[in-house]
Symmetry: C2
Subunit: 382 residues, 2 copies
């Protein structure tokens, strides 16, 4: 466990915060109370002006940086959060939470439904991105943070960041939107639907009540993850990493046994690993929130009108090989912001890593631009 790395936030542990007041969701359902799992890195300054909120994506959690006791791999965005990193914990107090509906300790489908005393399962109410944003605002209240220096997120996290700017314009100074979109395309929805279908078709899904039936829809969730995984990588990136290399042996005529390509066993391994550690109902809930998100829907489908609500500055970053959240989607955001007279910094990064690029370390241009924008943010915290 590399806790001696001076650029690591080191050992961390999550904190469960209980909120005892009722919370009404966009769907109309009211949770009587709820828990949020939270991690923080760095120190909140006396003015409480240096707080940065990290919003996680589909399969993320509160564990964005540092190491848990005994853990080999750090949090999911450790490459970009830490002392001297893009989100510099020497300057910022960084807050990261597991969204409700998640499966890392915050109230979600694996929690107990107070009405039945059993796990919620698929009865957990449907969620919208705005629910998470409202939740995150409650957390800010709890932490005594009136205004975030920045709200930052990639992919589904970027959707939360944008929604923040519209819902609580006075509560953030900067909004950093990475590899995201104002709404999904039909193709994106189609991939998500196919993934959900794979889960729901698994007999062990039991209509979403696998926990009380002591089953687990691992094969369905594994296929869902495989679909996701392909679409998060670029065609070229996959080609460079795997090409048509075979897993073992040569590929001779006269062989009666199907030989596997490396990409096949890699994907199956990734799918299987994920399916043992992630909750299938959470996957369904999160992909539905992604599908439903439509930033400008209540603004007559006019994103300029939507962004006119905002008061913060914006950074929008995209990656050229990302075909799931293509640069075109980010350009639409940047263009709408310009037309809404907002300050916007836009960068399109060359990267072979597809949608995953926002998570991948060692990309000098991404690091440099992200860092320099966050330094600008830091200069507003004094």
């Amino acid at each position: 466990m590399p806790t001696t790395d001076p650029n690591s936030v080191g050992l961390v542990s999550p904190q469960k915060i209980h909120f005892s007041e009722p919370f009404t969701l966009a769907c109309g359902h009211t949770l009587p109370d709820y828990d949020l799992m939270v991690e923080t890195y760095g120190k909140l300054n006396a003015q409480k002006s240096n707080a940065v909120l990290i919003c996680h994506a589909l399969s993320g959690s509160q564990h964005a940086a540092g190491f848990y006791e005994g853990e080999e791999k750090p949090g999911w965005w450790d490459a970009y959060i830490g002392p001297g990193k893009a989100i510099d914990t020497n300057h910022f107090f960084v807050v990261s939470m597991n969204n409700i509906g998640g499966c890392h300790g915050s109230t979600g489908p694996t929690s107990l439904n107070p009405k039945t005393g059993k796990a919620w399962g698929s009865d957990f109410p449907p969620l919208r991105v705005r629910d998470w944003v409202h939740n995150q605002a409650k957390l800010a209240d709890h932490l005594g943070i009136d205004q975030w220096a920045a709200v930052v997120g990639g992919s589904l996290g970027g959707m939360q960041a944008m929604r923040w700017a519209l819902e609580y314009p006075e509560r953030l100074r900067h909004c950093v939107v990475i590899a995201s979109a104002m709404k999904l395309t039909a193709q994106n929805i189609a991939f998500n639907q196919t993934a959900r279908q794979a889960i729901m078709a698994d007999p062990e899904f039991m209509d979403g009540h696998y926990l009380e039936n002591s089953t687990l829809p691992e094969s369905g969730l594994s296929v869902a993850r495989m679909i996701g995984h392909i679409t998060y990588l670029s065609d070229d990136g996959m080609g460079e990493k795997f090409g048509r290399a075979l897993r073992s042996g040569s590929f001779e005529q006269g062989s009666d046994v199907p030989v596997e390509f490396q990409i096949e066993s890699y994907l199956r391994y990734q799918g299987s690993k994920f399916s043992k550690s992630f909750d299938a109902n959470t996957y369904i809930l999160m992909t539905r929130a992604l599908d439903y998100f439509d930033l400008a829907r209540e603004y007559q489908d006019d994103p300029v009108k939507a962004f006119q609500q905002a008061q913060c500055d914006f950074a929008v970053i995209s990656f050229d090989s990302d075909w799931r959240f293509a640069p075109e989607r980010s350009r639409e955001i940047a263009t709408a912001l310009l037309h809404a007279d907002k300050n916007v910094f836009y960068a399109e990064i060359e990267s072979p890593y597809g949608h995953d690029a926002f998570l991948v370390p060692n990309q000098p241009r991404y690091e440099a631009l992200f860092s320099s924008y966050m330094q600008k943010v830091a200069s507003t915290c004094a």
Copy 2:
């Protein structure tokens, strides 16, 4: 049934041809005998010089044109085969067959395994594209056709057409390769693997012996088809057709019931329909043949060297919105052919229909170019 359409080949019926001699596959397995389901359209001329072979793709069959008795929808390539159409049955004798391994009457996984007396199921030997080509050559022998005027195919069918040019250089005058590739990319293999995984994860798959167990892996095959379907359409095309339109009702806040996008129910319908009419083992076999295909593998991975075997002329056609068999793949074919000193006609068609474009009617430029090339072919039949 629109049999009065002067541009339709009208009522057709398939013919089962039994081949009683043993047939050894590339994997080394020998089928003691086999059946091929075949349809023909138009008349073979006295010189037997006007025969055109149609090679089908992943989910195709012998039924390429015309109508079966009582059928509402014509064969899968009816838009391009018929009197006055691109493959003009006034000039050509068109031969279309179901490849072995298929599920439309030719010997395949649903046929009886002579060793066990039960359906082959997943014990059917693995197939390569060259097996089909060798099979098609046997069919040509049976029909008395020494040389095809053209061998024509889209996608996996285009792979067969190219293999024809290398395996039997003297037996075809033209090779027409549409929306195809010399080999799949890692991403393509990954999609196919995920589709296979979805099928094999279905408990009703029963290791591929569902027929003898009276089960059917419909949900797995349905997910597989959904994956395929998304990748055969273009993002823009899907957007134009479905956008983010909802299946019913409006999408209000306060609704506890997940609302479906049209694309979701469309895909589920398509997947379900397909899963009731197609054999899962065939789907696995055909996608594996796609994955394994590597035109230049035995020619030191040099496609120029491979194509130097060929004696025929070539037409290569691609579609700009096809991201599964991208134009770049077709340009690689055309470039290799040029370097091998072959006559090659190359066209890239603007189309919103993605990979499916090669099947979609009413595309004037595609029709015009395809027709004019086939007229050139016809002029060599006299």
